[in-house]
Symmetry: C2
Subunit: 254 residues, 2 copies
DNA sequence: CGCTATTTGTGCGTATGTATC
DNA sequence: CGATACATACGCACAAATAGC
């Protein structure tokens, strides 16, 4: 295989995605994996342009997008530097707790209550919580930050009868675990987790401060009490470029 | 009954992503979630164009992309119909086995060996397998199908000394579990799994028959033998629109 | 059979965005 | 910065296939 000056065939034309956006997406990923940028310094624009087989203007457009995102910082006359931080590892285990899981990896953990309502349970929610369809459930919409950046957007449902006042308590405690405790539930376990990935929707783009085309990791989780009774059904969207999910085996379950 | 419906502001212009691609991505997702298409039949093109606030041509371009992907099927004079199948659930548990996990959900499970080599272990691989950096390891590149569609592309590393002949045996057995057994390893356990998501790269786009902009779920896994000694380090890319990962809790571990 | 309504397929002109030089 | 080429998106018109009356 002769590789004299083989351009990397990773950037596709006529794909419906502008070259600058493909390059921006790729650079964001490689920066996140530590493959691009030595000691926080990006290669010069002409080198990047040659590598991707595009004009320097196109690379500049991609860099401008990443500067806008906060991934890069360009300094005239000096170069372009990486601003981004590492990806946080979110552990999924039997006792999955948001702040415990990220504690030690980041500072400034916080969860904000964006919205809440009492509504009749949909088929999915009713099935997950073992309630009758239409039974009243509390829905909490929350946004979580770590290191000052939004990392996840969650929608959780709770039995309105058993956990009356959940929204008010959560807005004060800012913690599901603490809210459960106030409501008399000392402990709960993760029953199951389903993971998918998709493009972020408009609302999540805004809340999670993502750019169009960004990816969210979606977890659908059911938590149960010590008797195995479901207490929470939730859908959480994680910014895929800021979070990775970690599933420990039986031997390293903490 | 042309009722002036409110345009959904989900399609963004000047975002660097073509309208037809945004529409295709959104339709693919809604079809997967059952939100679009009643009884396998899509709304007519003019209705979709009105809903997304674009020209009918633009919707047609999006539909053409999904037809190319195998998600839709268009019949002149009749309509456009959904071809897609449900998303398969891939369980991640202590004894994670590819074919066992998908058995019962799909037919025609098969794994092809695309490439293999013996190479010196990189830092990551050496660390994961508890070997010295540069120690010889076997690398297997595999592609797995279910229901006649490619679902995952994996890269696995094995200690070349302990598992000599792995590539030849795998190309015959087409199963990691069976290959391990032939090499004297009767059982192995999943030590840890890390899940991320990103845009598919050019090679995966081709192998997994995806369209540009498609998403892959990436799992980084370590398997260990009964003594806790690592036997396999692997990176698997799953087509995110065909697979979801399922992590059972302690009570439903199978 | 023809007629009509519906729906997908095609052609063409034009304006704008993207990328190169 | 302008000139050029191509992709994208729109608007309109019409052809082709299907289905129901």
């Amino acid at each position: 295989m002769a590789q004299a000056k083989k351009k990397e065939a990773v950037i596709e034309r006529r794909s419906g995605v502008a070259l600058w956006r493909q390059i921006a997406d790729r650079m964001r990923r490689e920066i996140g994996e530590g493959l691009l940028g030595e000691e926080g310094r990006m290669p010069p624009e002409v080198a990047l342009a040659e590598r991707f087989g595009v004009n320097r203007h196109t690379v500049r457009t991609a860099i401008a997008a990443l500067v806008q995102e906060g991934v890069l910082r360009a300094e005239q006359g000096r170069g372009t530097f990486i601003e981004g931080r590492r990806r946080l590892a979110y552990p999924i285990r039997s006792r999955t707790r948001f702040s415990e899981g990220l504690a030690g990896q980041s500072r400034g953990l916080a969860a904000d209550l964006l919205d809440h309502a009492v509504e009749p349970a949909s088929l999915d929610v009713a099935k997950a919580l073992c309630l009758s369809p239409g039974a009243p459930v509390i829905r909490l919409e929350t946004l979580s930050h770590a290191d000052g950046r939004p990392v996840s957007r969650a929608r959780g449902w709770f039995d309105a009868e058993r956990f009356a006042g959940m929204a008010e308590i959560f807005s004060r405690t800012r913690s599901i675990t603490a809210s459960f405790r106030e409501l008399g539930l000392a402990d709960y376990l993760r029953h199951s987790t389903t993971v998918t990935a998709r493009h972020a929707e408009a609302g999540d783009l805004k809340d999670l401060q993502l750019s169009p085309g960004a990816i969210v990791l979606v977890t659908i989780a059911i938590n149960v009490d010590a008797q195995g009774q479901p207490v929470q059904y939730s859908e959480t969207r994680f910014a895929a470029d800021r979070i990775e999910l970690h599933i420990p085996g039986a031997d390293e379950t903490g």
